[in-house]
Amino acid sequence: MAVEAQIPYQEALDVHHPHSWLTRYWFSQDHKVIAIQYGITAIGVGLVALVLSGMMRLQLGFPDSFDFIDPEAYYQFITMHGMIMVIYLLTALLLGGFGNYLVPLMCGARDMVFPFVNMISYHVYFASVLILLASYFVPGGPTGAGWTLYPPQAILTGTPGVDWGILTMLVSLAVFIVAFTMGGLNYVTTILQARTRGMSLMRMPLSIWGIFMATVLGLLAFPALFVSAVMMILDKTIGTSFFMPAISSLGEQLDYSGGSPLLFQHLFWFFGHPEVYIVALPAFGIVSDLISTHARKNIFGYRMMVWAIVAIGVLSFIVWAHHMYVSGMHPYFGFFFATTTLIIAVPTAIKVYNWTLTLLRANIHMTVPMLFSIAFVITFVVGGLTGLFLGNVIVDVPLSDTYFVVAHFHMVMGVSPILVIFGAIYHWYPKMTGKMLDDRIGQVHFWITFLGTYAIYYPMHYLGFVGVPRRYFANGEMAIIDESVLLLNQGITIAALIVGVAQILFIWNLIYSYYRGRDSGPNPWKATTLEWQTPETPPRHGNWESTLPTVHRWAYDYSVPGAKDDFIPQSEPPGGEHEGSART
């Protein structure tokens, strides 16, 4: 084929070789090192957010029992928890971490197209994390405006961290977006330009499709957040009125006039909704590959899966105002956004069907990555279906701003992608380190995490049916609730604390297995994709021998009838060692 005869873009590339410890591990331009830097930083800051969520749960389950949790601290916990988890953990880990690690390896490239920019990207991200965490050390502490940072409240007295905290938050976000843009341009360009010979778009593993589409979304969506951050900084510091109408705050007239709080909400969600898919699409892609590999069966309906990813990506830009049904925007928007939102359910449902249909007539190896993948599917089914409640505009009216929303988005974009991330780490850790993660610790970690998170969030929906509002420091006496609500909250808190503590197992496994783990060999899962076919494990800088691999087939040749083995690597020519002579 013509494609296979072309000389790949990076074939003759001489990658920058490291000289010292510093350029090897800190200012490295190797995408794999950068990926691990992103991963460690994201997990580190994610642990901070995990602790914050534990403190929130303590207050909700056992109100008035902890002196150090007052309303101010509580609202700071929820804000920092939300923002860290969505941006600094999930986005950074899935794209900065897995995107960086997988894109060149799975595409058969030596490195990212712009390795220097890639290195800078990580360090700018690291700076944004430091700025964010610095908000705990500025006067007044971090902002307590909620992760949506809605003005006017975000920059007015009455909200914690109104002097410094909100500024560190906004500056940190702006810096993060700079980092993301540098990384994102790299992922997109590398996928489009640096695929090896034979790796046509429709032969790419779904992981790469998910990462690609998510990055495109990010590049188009993050600018909206960037401008809103800049405009809010100006409203706060020099008194412009982008988002601020004429207001009297706590009995005092302020000088603002003519701005619109709704403008911010539109900008925020124009970013915020694609952001859901920026997190979800890489997870969708990765989990497809995990399920296929560990079920020893081709992913069902590959082309449909690709088009579903593309369709979801495009649609995700015209559903944003479903976060604003009761915001006071023009009510006729409700018709439009409810319709687009429910349309997006169709490609999403197809993905779910195809995952489950991949399991049908498969040969499922219940490895830890497979366990996490199955847990993802069932969790995502709950989270996706409850999304139909909230997307269906009139059903959203009684449920919006209640615990139903909290339960829904934690299921769909908290727990679901996290389960995929765990699965992916168990899956690719051997490639990253040459060691297997400990299976028994992995099993225990899996069961506590999966059952625990289900026990937290499934019952939480029912608090929302009751009508318990979210973002309440305490419910106190409330006409619609009785003691049973507190009881349920206590149960949820206990489950949350168990799940939180259980993550120590995971961290321990990462460290323990690095030193004591079983050697994995180059391809422990007998997977087909290119990263498992590298000459060395872990792959060295430059990934491949002097010639790049040639791709001869799609990524899902598992259990091909008549083939000698139950997998045929993408780089294997027809009639190669795994296939035998049976089929060409």
């Binding site: 009297s248 449909m304 499922i364 420091f473 006496e477």
Partner: protein, 472 residues
């Protein structure tokens, strides 16, 4: 195998939880049965999808778990199956969306006969405005909002003169009459949320939003704020009372218009002096408070707070709890203030009394108290001077033993427990932060250190007042 069993337990467990759960929507009290119906339809379609997918996964993980000699079936795609599933999903989606959009169409189109009620939110309380006899709400402007004009009504607009103002009190609505709620915020985002009405909408500063509903059940309902509005968000409660038409008319007759409130006669301190003689028996001739008689200091307290508390006693919101011994002593005393003029006169007299800081009687750790007080600052001010904007009384320089006792009462629910007493409820929620009596004493000790600063504030206040008078 364990995976299939666990998935089975999750599917069945979720169903069992659902059917045994006592947690469900509270009984509806409005016309929005359509919303409940849309929830019902969505719930069942989604519920069936969940069970089907879940059980299918139980089957596949059971049947196709790894076994000796088993190989997977190579099946890249199955166009027919994929199309069938797509069409089934689309049907399910349309089945949810169609009834949903029909109800939404109702929700956003207000029937012409609906009567307007304005709902005004501010940190952290609810107020309301009804059009008077002319049926028209007068124009408002955020720039006009002040202590004397909390709604920001245009004093020149004749339509506004007969508007009925309900500041921080319960809103009454007649049963079975559609209401168009016009929502307005003075400061930040809020959301008017009465769970029994199902309807909900944000209040956005700078614009008027709306929603409509018809109350269908007589009763008293709690208003919650459903949009994060700062540290007092969870304490922003209000009350809506749905009345029969007769009860509503009676209530409406007792309400005051903007014209009445803005032309309220100034109290006459001289006339108030005679009435105050009764009060002086306990509160002291100079309003300085007497600990032996459990009567707090009155002099120096803001007039709007005095007025509000007198009203609270009169309405039975305060001084009714069994354990509120001294509140119960006060309750009958307000009967001596038999009309508005008498009340205003007494308040004017109290305002004329010398404001000397009350003696310190409470021992506590003021440093620790300073930390605890950080939660109080937003409403009561960093100088303890109180704020009409948040409707928080002055604390600094007032009788400290009284502050301590009231904090204990709030925390124990002895004060602020009346369902209609929303400001009391607010303080009740905030006082929970003070874990024990030591914490209360510490915070009061810190408030005592503010008395000196208080004097300076009072001077500044006088200058401000003068400035305002000049301006107006």
């Amino acid at each position: 195998m364990i995976v299939a069993i666990m998935l089975f337990i999750i599917v069945i467990g979720s169903l069992v939880f659902n059917f045994l759960s006592p947690w469900w929507f509270t009984e509806i009290a409005s016309n929005w049965g359509g919303i409940d119906f849309a929830v019902f339809v969505t719930f069942w379609i989604c519920g069936v999808a969940f069970v089907l997918i879940g059980l299918f996964m139980v089957y596949t993980t059971w049947k196709y778990r790894r076994r000796e000699g088993q190989t997977a079936v190579y099946e890249p795609e199955n166009k027919r199956l994929e199309w069938i599933l797509t069409i089934l999903t689309t049907i399910g989606v349309v089945g949810m969306l169609a009834p949903g959009l029909l109800v939404w169409d109702d929700y956003v189109n207000v029937p012409p006969q609906a009567r307007e009620v304005e709902i005004v939110g501010q940190q952290w309380s609810w107020s309301y405005r009804l059009p008077g006899e002319d049926g028209i709400l007068g124009t408002v402007d955020a720039k006009l909002i002040s202590v004397d004009n909390p709604f920001g009504l245009d004093p020149e607009d004749p339509d506004g003169q007969d508007d009925i103002l309900i500041e921080r009190e319960a809103l009454h609505l007649p049963i079975d009459r559609p209401v168009k709620a016009l929502l307005r915020s003075k400061d930040v985002l809020h959301d008017f949320y009465v769970p029994q009405f199902r309807a909900k909408m944000d209040l956005v500063p700078g614009m008027i939003t709306y929603m409509w509903f018809t109350p269908t059940r007589v009763g008293t309902y709690e208003v919650l704020c459903a949009e994060l509005c700062g540290i007092g968000h969870h304490t922003m409660r209000g009350t809506v009372v749905v009345d029969t038409q007769e009860d509503y008319d009676t209530w409406l007759d007792g309400q005051q218009t903007y014209a009445q409130i803005s032309t309220r006669p100034q109290g006459d301190p001289i006339a108030g002096q005679a009435t105050y003689a009764v009060c002086a028996a306990c509160h002291g001739p100079a309003g300085e408070g007497l600990v032996a008689l459990n009567a707090p200091k009155l002099s120096g307290q803001d007039e709007w707070y005095l007025r509000h508390q007198i009203l609270a006693y009169k309405q039975g919101l305060r001084g009714v709890h069994e354990e509120d011994t001294y509140g119960k002593e006060m309750a009958p005393m307000v009967a001596t203030l038999f009309d508005a003029a008498t009340t205003e006169n007494v308040i004017a007299y109290i305002r004329s009394l010398p404001d000397d800081p009350a003696p310190v009687t409470i021992d506590g750790n003021a440093d620790r108290g300073a930390n605890l007080y950080s939660g109080c600052t937003v409403c009561h001010g960093s100088d303890g001077g109180g704020s009409h904007g948040t409707f928080a009384p002055r604390l600094a320089g007032m009788t400290d033993w009284y502050l301590a006792r009231q904090l204990q009462n709030f925390r124990a629910g002895i004060r602020g427990s009346h369902p209609m007493d929303n400001l009391g409820k607010q303080m009740g929620l905030m006082s929970k932060q003070l874990g024990d009596d030591d914490a209360i004493n510490d915070v009061v000790a810190y408030i005592n250190t503010m008395s000196t600063r208080m004097t300076q504030t009072a001077m500044r206040q006088t200058i401000d007042d003068r400035g305002e008078t000049d301006g107006g």
